[in-house]
Amino acid sequence: MRGMKFSFLCKKKPQPTGKRIAIVGAGPAGLTAAGYLVCRGHDVDIYDKMPEPGGLMLFVIPEFRIPVERVRLGAKELEEEFEVNYYPRTKVMEGERLDEGDEFYERVIRLSELKEKYDAVLIATGIWNVRRIGIPGDDLEGILSPLELLFWIKGNKLGYVPDEKVPDLRGKRVGIIGAGLTAVDVAFECNRLGAEVEIFYRRTIREAPAGAYEINILRNRGVKWFELVTPKSVIGENGRVKAIELLRTRLGEPDETGRRRPIPIPGSEFQVPVDYLVFAIGMVSTPPVNGSYLAVDRRGRLVVDERHMTSVEGIFAAGDVANGPTKVGRAIKDGLYTAVAIDKWLRGEL
């Protein structure tokens, strides 16, 4: 197998410009930007809090969708052929905040320090926090974060997570709330590990962001699909989850996304017993700042101008950290166009 060729725009490194760029976050946005920038002759250093580059593609998305080797070899090519330096297990942060995957980092560097040391900085730190649902009982034992669960499973295979961290799901009932890319990937992995999986969704399969095609593949593999229900509370016993209490919903008028809004039906409560629950209802951008160092919008995304630059001159942002949850291709697109802007800015053309 060959790796993704992030430097697909050139055959070898051209005459060096002497400019140094720090990229924070080695997901598809960061790596693709690195590929463009080395093809323009710049020196690139990449900082990431995980033990190796790849981002969600490597640590979260299941192997059958994106092979680990494909990402690994791609990152390695940047290092070996284009002299990109990786600084793994290094969290970049201005201020403090706990994010998913934080158990892997060993060092912290301040963003302002990178700004001092480099000619330009690119932030591509993605969406590494999971949205909390905020219903009674949502902190009981047995409630798993979808991201954490996925990188325990994949991280274990990669040798970073000890066996005892991966819950033994054989014969266990796992309830998943949500119907996006994250929900279906959690369902795939739990099903593969021998769990009885049931997905609960507040709209119908027609509105499901993951699409009927993916969901029907899951159903063929024995995953149960339960639509038009919304969680009301989590029922526990001795501090551990025992069941989920759901309300039936009906669809009302379309909301701002154009999809019909689910309306809970009062008095329709019922319970479904579960051993584990996963709320896969959305993810939140995690810029390497907490505080006023960089401007963020209402949803926590980094604000950028048409030059892809943040509120601080010389610090750029690309990928999900600026756009919210998207897809690999969108992150790559943003990474490319941001890299173009960085190159122009460094050459004084922007």
Binding site: M4, F8, G194
Partner: protein
């Protein structure tokens, strides 16, 4: 020169849009591989298949469509009269009439890149390894290798029950 194939495998494609993105980037916003979303939300990237027995080549009244030395089906823009006969016969609806160029345009297997000794960008960047480029034998092997990874039974640990069954039926389990 040896005939090359550019094959998009819909069973391993995850619909991530990377191929369209990089194609869009190198062609100034006019991607030649485009994602179509089906009714049940399957994402299908469609580009020219560079067919072996290409109906578009046969039907073009001005012989504007030809095969280059790598096997790519190409359009000689200066000879195209815009009659869209090629679109009529293409099973994938690939030929795209560009008002700007005043000719049909479509995937040329990254002709400019090939001239510089580089491969088609979509195949290099697809994270799922769903796009393969190269001589037929190699492409076929890579597709089989990649497909094998996705057979769910290869990804699942066997239960005690299945293990017993397979042993009693004489199959060896690794």
């Amino acid at each position: 020169m040896e005939r090359k194939y550019l094959y998009v495998d819909y069973l391993t494609c995850i619909g991530c849009e990377t191929c369209q993105t990089v194609c869009d980037f190198i062609h100034d916003g006019n991607p030649y591989i485009r994602i179509y979303i089906t009714e049940n939300k399957q994402y299908l990237p469609i580009n020219c298949k560079h067919c072996d027995d290409a109906p578009c080549i046969k039907v073009c009244p001005t012989q504007a469509i030809y095969r280059d030395e790598d096997g790519a089906v190409r359009i000689a823009e200066d000879r195209c009269i815009g009659c869209l006969a090629c679109l009529q016969v293409c099973p994938y609806g690939v030929p795209f009439y560009s008002l700007k160029v005043k000719a049909v345009t479509k995937c040329d297997m990254c002709a400019e890149r090939r001239e510089e000794g580089m491969e088609p960008a979509c195949a290099l960047m697809c994270p799922a390894e769903a796009i393969q480029y190269g001589p037929l034998e190699i492409v076929m092997n890579l597709v089989r290798e990649r497909r094998a990874k996705n057979i769910p039974e290869h990804q699942r640990e066997l239960t005690e029950e299945e293990l017993r069954k397979s042993i009693s039926s004489g199959f060896k389990v690794f």
